[in-house]
């Protein structure tokens, strides 16, 4: 078993795994480590990356990608974070916001501007000059805002070729959107399943509330949303090896469909549970919170609708 080279996991295998992790609402940073981080390492190559890929399989390495900055919204290109070559070393400075899973990570992968464009660096979270401002997110996970104050990095901290990281980030970003969509599908299946079970057991006016047609209609609409999201995730997953624009369009379609479904299914699941949907004791509220975070993670609906429009092929003459 390995995460490198020809034995890299198939995207459909990852989709299957992510769906199950979603259904069990697993907190551990599998997406950040095995999907995003491993894909970046695999593309970068080199002995450092290979050793880390082995470390992931051994369970010793957990990764977090620092890419977003206060001024970049959902674009992958960093602005403020820069790395300069000083002799044999690199000096990294700047900051990253909402680095998901950073407090859990053994290694950070950080995007930075360099002379040749956008590059990726491997940074130890406890290196001198690195400060993590850690906090819990509403879905029970952890994130951090990270500051880099003239962090000195060895030459081998550079992952892949200098200046070549932007198309790689776009590609791995789309793979992450597909995998996170699969997680969302698992979450929404569970939200729907729990809602059906609850309405069948909750009695009102002398009968289970699932007898009421209005609630049945609502649950059918939830089912349709889950099915549409599932199909969009399949398409995005199967298009991951397609040419860049085609792949990106499918990923943006999936992100929009999944986000809208997360909102509809999540909110209606809580609504149909009544007051029970708001309690900490019942799973439903926790699934709803993760679904809500996924809705905005890696780009909002507006961002991806705009990206899709930008990537439309010119209409045939």
């Amino acid at each position: 078993m390995s995460l490198g080279g020809e034995t890299a996991p198939d995207p459909v295998d990852l989709m299957v795994v992510m769906e199950e992790l979603g259904e069990a609402l697993v907190l551990e940073p599998y997406l950040e480590t095995v999907v995003t981080g491993a894909a970046l390492l695999r593309a970068s190559g080199g002995p450092t990356a290979d050793a880390l890929l082995d470390g992931i399989v051994a369970g010793d390495v957990r990764l977090a990608l620092g890419w977003a900055e206060p001024g970049t919204r959902y674009e992958w290109a960093p602005q403020e974070t820069r790395a300069e070559r000083k002799g044999e070393e690199w000096v990294l400075s700047g900051r990253k916001s909402v680095v998901i899973a950073a407090p859990w990570a053994t290694h950070l992968i950080v995007s930075a501007r360099t002379e040749g464009g956008v590059s990726l660096f491997l940074v130890a979270p406890d290196a001198p000059g690195v400060t993590l401002f850690a906090y819990p997110t509403i879905d029970g996970r952890r994130a951090a805002d990270v500051e880099f104050a003239d962090v000195r990095l060895d030459a081998d901290a550079l992952l892949g070729a200098e200046g070549a990281a932007l198309p790689l980030l776009e590609r791995v970003g789309d793979a992450t959107i597909a995998a996170m969509g699969a997680e969302a599908v698992g979450i929404m299946r569970r939200l729907l399943q729990d809602t059906i079970a609850y309405t069948q057991s909750r009695q009102q006016f002398g009968q289970p509330i699932s007898n009421f047609q209005v609630l049945q209609h609502r649950m059918v609409d939830m089912f349709m949303q889950v099915e549409m999201a599932t199909s969009a995730v399949y398409l995005a997953t199967l298009k991951l090896d397609a040419p860049a624009a085609e792949r990106a369009r499918a990923a943006s379609v999936a992100k929009v469909t999944v986000a809208e479904a997360c909102r509809f299914v999540g909110q209606n699941a809580v609504q149909l549970h009544g007051g029970m949907g708001m309690t900490d004791e019942l799973a439903i509220g926790h699934y709803f919170k993760r679904a809500t975070v996924i809705e905005g993670e890696l780009g909002t609906v507006d961002h991806h609708v705009e990206r899709f429009a930008r990537l439309q092929p010119e209409a045939a003459e």
Binding site: V12, D13, V16, V17, E19, E20, L21, E23, A24, L25, V26, L27, E28, P29, G59, D60, R62, P103, W104, A105, T106, P125, D126, L132, A134, Y135, P136, G140, R141, R142, A144, Y234, L235, L238, D280, A283, H286
Partner: protein, 53 residues
């Protein structure tokens, strides 16, 4: 497009689902989400460290 999963993928799904059902119940998940010491890095995999993060 072919939407059928291979036998191997089905096995992967079933074994992961079984594992999570027996090892990652809702109470376990809640305890881990609520664990204090936010931002403290752990040694070893999170699954081996209980609520230490």
């Amino acid at each position: 497009m072919d939407f059928t999963f291979t036998e191997e993928q089905q096995l992967l799904r079933d074994s992961l689902r079984g594992y999570l059902r027996s090892h990652y119940g809702f109470d376990h998940r809640r305890a881990r989400a609520a664990a204090k010491a936010v931002g403290m890095r752990t040694r070893g995999a999170p699954s081996q460290t209980g609520s230490a993060y």
